[in-house]
């Protein structure tokens, strides 16, 4: 479901820089149940209004900008980055009903499956 097969643990850039900051892939968990998919993405240090999630051409595109105050930096293991990740969305997802919320540096994306794709119990009528 995810386009990235490896994760840049060391925050190595995965794409050309366009905004003067490296682009890195956030760590994600992807879960599924009968009703839909749940994607959790770690975006520590990102403000809620700096996250952009869009659904285009069958892909869910996540990008988020992290600004950091680096005045007087002595040692740095993480920096200001552009988080970016693209997910290929299975056809059973109801794109119009995708929900996103951001809590404590973790983005929760809920992708409900279309009604037609959900398991349904069919009543069997016995004819007399």
């Amino acid at each position: 479901m995810s386009e990235n097969t490896t994760i840049q643990r060391s925050e190595e850039a995965i794409a050309e820089e366009t905004s003067g900051r490296p682009t890195v892939a956030p760590a994600v968990d992807i879960y599924e149940n009968a009703a839909g998919y749940l994607v959790l993405a770690d975006l520590p240090g990102v403000r809620g209004d700096a996250i952009d999630v869009r659904f285009e051409e069958g892909e869910l595109r996540l990008s988020a900008r992290r600004d950091l105050d680096d005045e007087g930096a002595v040692a740095a293991e993480f920096r200001a980055v552009e988080f970016r990740r693209i997910f290929k969305i299975p056809e059973d997802v109801d794109a119009g009903a995708i929900e996103a919320d951001f809590q404590g540096g973790v983005l929760h994306l809920r992708l409900p499956k279309a009604k037609a794709a959900q398991p349904r119990k069919i009543n069997v009528r016995a004819s007399a």
């Binding site: 479901m1 879960y31 599924e32 149940n33 770690d42 520590p44 680096d70 293991e77 540096g105 973790v106």
Partner: protein, 163 residues
């Protein structure tokens, strides 16, 4: 009925695992992947820690005249899941990230494992332990450690001596 192999096929039987005969460098990629695989297996046998073996959480240290500021990436952690301890010259951050797999879901991909962590850093100079402040916002822990009055920079008045 089987067709006799075409000339190109005969030529590449030796490297039958190379899919494109016009890209001999593919063999190197394949070799590297196989070696990676062997090393991963070796890690499992020898008991090396599974990924992520990198330190967690990642930390930044900043300094101003008045204080040191330590920032740590702790996405998804709540205040009560973090333990911050300071001595006059060190800071320790401890905690546990719980499993985030919700009930009844199957896993497609997991890059955010549950983990227990503890990191200590030695501070470059003494701090005022009573004045330490810590807060968590948007998955970032910020600990402000005011410098001890003894180590704060002071400007020294220079007297002009009369020669």
């Amino acid at each position: 009925m089987t067709q006799p192999p075409a000339l190109a096929d005969v030529r590449t039987t030796m490297f039958s695992y190379i899919r494109d005969p016009y890209d001999p460098l593919q063999a190197f990629g394949l070799f590297r992947r196989r070696m990676d695989h062997i090393f991963r297996e070796l890690d499992d046998v020898v008991g090396a820690r599974a990924r992520p073996s990198t330190v967690w959480p990642r930390i930044n240290l900043r300094e101003s005249d008045q204080a040191y500021v330590v920032e740590a990436e702790v996405p998804g952690l709540k205040v009560e899941e973090l333990d911050v301890m300071a001595t006059a010259e060190s800071l320790t951050i401890r905690g546990e990230r719980k499993e985030s797999a919700p009930e009844g879901y199957s896993v497609h991909r997991r890059e955010r494992p549950a983990l227990r962590f503890s990191r200590s850093i030695a501070l470059p100079a003494r701090i005022d332990v009573d004045g330490v402040l810590a807060e968590v916002k948007d998955g970032l822990l910020t600990v402000t450690l005011p410098k001890h009055p003894e180590v704060k920079p002071r400007s020294i008045a220079i007297k002009a001596s009369e020669a």
